[in-house]
């Protein structure tokens, strides 16, 4: 069973990183990764992607948005109190 391809291996990466692969698939993937440096590098890049995206897409709430929210809710609450 050492016929697995890079393509097969890439398809297993999400479940592999989640620790959800069964013993057989995990062994097969690890065997492929051991003998395939492109896939080994690919795994590293796949694994690094979410953290890079979190960093790139992090946003602080602008102060004026917070101020507008407060004004909006105050006027709505005042309407409701009438």
């Amino acid at each position: 069973m050492n016929s697995s391809t890079c393509k097969d291996s890439v398809e297993l990466l999400l479940e592999y990183l989640d620790g959800e692969l069964n013993t057989e698939l995990k062994a097969r993937l690890e065997q492929h990764l051991d003998g395939c440096s492109p896939c080994e590098d690919f795994l590293k890049s796949y694994q690094a992607t979410p953290a890079l995206c979190r960093k790139a897409l992090a946003r602080e709430m602008p102060r004026e948005v917070a101020a507008k929210l407060t004004d909006f809710l105050r006027s709505e609450m005042a309407k409701a109190a009438k």
Partner: protein, 210 residues
């Protein structure tokens, strides 16, 4: 590897003590406006972050923020103390953001299959993979950030929602399934496609740079 722990850290807000919420909530339910504002203050940045990343627009996120807290306010009498206020309002916001995301046409949205790795006819990887560096604590390269923003903006709604909820917000597959109405296997499959597409964009960025 725990993405969840990592993403909590990145959200950067001080840990919230739920018992303080409970006290504020009791007062807010009794009509104390200042107490409700206290709750808003404690949870608004997390809600804004979710909506901003889901919708990729500060204006839309600001509207979701208003809608969500207004909806929470109107539903205060129905809220039962056995749930956390924070997760309740977060769920309201996630629903509002999802509805908006699904009802709008994403500009530059990818039609057809997303980008992914290239294989030859024998199923072997044909491209060289760049070395992804992510220096902890270091500010992100501006061009890399823009490349990631552009790639994330091209994701279709069904990819974007699972990627944001899992990889950026750190929700569990089960929580995402409940919010989106999708099955866990479908969520995993779309998340994998989204990651492959974003990975490709980052890879291209590094290839062009070197």
């Amino acid at each position: 590897m725990s993405l969840d722990a990592e993403s909590r850290k990145i959200q950067g807000s001080a840990p919230l003590i739920p018992s303080e919420d409970t006290e504020l909530l009791t007062r807010a339910q009794a009509g104390d406006v200042a107490a409700f504002e206290g709750l808003v203050e404690r949870h608004r940045s997390r809600v804004f972050g979710l909506a901003q990343r889901m919708l990729n627009s500060a204006d839309d996120a600001a509207e979701v923020l208003q809608e969500s807290f207004l909806s929470a306010y109107r539903n205060l009498p129905n809220f039962r103390g056995d749930a956390q206020f924070g997760s309740w309002v977060y769920r309201i916001a996630a629903n509002h953001a999802l509805m908006r995301l699904r009802h709008r046409k994403v500009v530059n949205q990818v039609e057809g299959p997303l980008d992914g790795p290239q294989f030859n006819e024998r199923g072997s990887l044909v491209e060289e993979v760049s070395d992804f560096r992510d220096a902890e604590g270091e500010a992100m390269d501006k061009e890399l950030r823009e490349a990631i923003e552009a790639a994330a903006a091209r994701l279709g709604a069904e990819y974007r929602e699972v990627f944001v909820l899992k990889d950026l917000e750190g929700l569990s597959y089960e929580e995402i399934a409940e919010l989106t109405g999708s099955t866990v296997p479908a969520i995993k499959s779309r998340l994998h496609r989204a990651r492959l597409s974003l990975r490709t964009a980052i890879d291209h960025f590094y290839q062009e740079r070197s």
